[in-house]
Amino acid sequence: EHVQTQHLSIPAGSRVHYTFPELFFYKPNLWWPNGMGKQSLYKVSITVDVKGYGESDLWGQLFGFRKIQSHIDTVTGGRLFKVNGQPIFIRGGNWILSDGLLRLSKKRYKTDIKFHADMNFNMIRCWGGGLAERPDFYHYCDIYGLLVWQEFWITGDVDGRGIPVSNPDGPLDHDLFLLCARDTVKLLRNHPSLALWVGGNEQVPPDDINTALKNDLRLHPHFEKSVNESGKSTEDLS
């Protein structure tokens, strides 16, 4: 039942957005962080066949069904997380990057990230002065159940709070920053381990960048409704 084919016509030389009718799953295996359950992953494959030509392109991704919520707790001021409706005590570590000369490898990522899981961690925080981590990093976080807190490229030291105070308005080209941020979100957004985007380290990005990021990263209204419904029906039914 998890196969679906849709037909559409695309005009010459154009780009279109297409949304499949949603696929229904009854009690699918959920993806859980390390220590809370299995990291069940499904393979999602998309292919496009063109009449008179045959298979034109294909795409694949491992995907995990999970719902991650977080909010600032008014009493403690700390951020509380829930995964699939269950509160989770975050045990995490700081991550800067694999290697100072960017000699990045699957083998190193697998070893480092499994090490974090073996230390009984369930979150890795990618520091804003490092990288937007790579798909291979997120792949092993998906596999080993490490939630990822991913910061954008702003740090207090360099952007307005360091000694000397510098770059109070962040990078020179805000449009370039947002272009890179949007492209990075598209690169990483399907990984179940991606739990939180954060503007920067010890610093809020300049207002225009911060507002744009918050706006771009809002949950799409289409899902807002269903999340509320699920929130309501889940609470009521459970």
Binding site: H2, V3, Q4, T5, Q6, H7, L8, S9, I10, A12, G13, V16, H17, Y18, T19, E22, L23, P28, L41, Y42, K43, V44, I46, T47, D49, V50, K51, Y53, S56, D57, F63, F65, R66, K67, N84, L97, G100, L101, L102, R103, L104, G129, R134, W153, D157, V158, D159, I163, G170, P171, L172, C180, D183, T184, K186, N190, H220, S233, T234, L237
Partner: protein, 262 residues
């Protein structure tokens, strides 16, 4: 006819300092392709950085041993052109009539000029952005393709004050790039500021229609019993006719071994 899909270009790369190469990108990718063993060309680390290539070829010591980093000239003292490097490779791809070929860079630090078989394309600035070039019209369908990439360092590499400190003089913060590279309390300054083709390079073959950046979202109801998978994708029709498409999505879970449940 080439198989649909992606092929990584992660071997056989060469590199050379731009100031030591007198040829142009057009000459390198047409009449005078370089070869390993002819100075100043050396085996390159791609994906990787200029400094990783220099360390691999023992042109400089490994900066993370002892005080070796002090013996590597910093970009602030050498100037940006010293760490502006050529990267070169070749590849083959036998396209059929209606197939298209994209050349993809998943990340370059900080900007670059790409030459393929004598054709130049400028890759704009930014360390954290992908680049995808439709090179269908410039590839040699049955021959070898010559690819040269001239990679420029960040615009504002900054300089390291004598006392060091978190992020040096913070100039790197003017660019959209990783900020630790001017040094921090846990790492020495990176002399080339991580200039290079630091993530995957690939070529991808498609037919007339290409799938771009699908987005998967799941919603949950009835205490996670009733779950929906919403999928949106961008599609590009690169041909000159309207394309009648069948779009298929399939979700499978890998069982042990080679069995899979659909």
């Amino acid at each position: 006819m080439a198989a649909i899909g992606k092929t990584k270009l992660d071997s056989g790369w060469l590199a050379a300092r731009s100031t030591e190469v007198s040829l142009s990108g057009i000459q390198l990718t047409t009449t005078h392709p370089p070869s390993i063993g002819t100075s100043p060309w050396m085996e390159a680390v791609v994906p990787g950085t200029v400094l990783a290539t220099l360390v691999k070829n023992k042109v400089v010591p490994d900066p993370f041993y002892g005080l070796e980093n002090e013996s590597i000239i910093d970009i602030a003292d050498s100037g940006r052109e010293y760490y502006t490097f050529w990267f070169f490779t070749t590849f083959r791809c036998k396209l059929s009539g209606t197939q298209h070929l994209d050349l993809n860079f998943r990340a370059i630090n900080y900007s670059a000029d790409v030459y393929l078989n004598g054709h130049k394309t400028v890759l704009p600035k930014g360390m954290f952005r992908r680049h995808s070039l439709d090179v269908t019209d410039v590839v040699h369908p049955d021959g070898e393709n010559l690819l040269a990439v001239l990679v420029y360092p960040p615009d504002n590499p900054g300089s390291i004050p004598p006392e060091g400190g978190q992020g040096g003089d913070h100039e790197i913060g003017k660019d959209v790039a990783t900020q630790y590279v001017e040094g921090w309390d846990w790492i020495c300054p990176i002399r080339d500021r991580n200039t290079g083709i630091w993530d995957e390079v690939s070529i991808s073959v498609t037919g007339p229609v290409k799938i771009i950046d699908p987005h998967l979202v799941s919603t949950f109801f009835d205490n996670y019993k009733r779950v929906y998978l919403h999928t949106t994708t961008e599609l590009e029709n690169k041909s000159t006719q309207s394309a009648e498409c069948s779009l298929n999505i399939q979700v499978t879970t890998e069982l042990k071994g080679n069995f899979c449940l659909v």
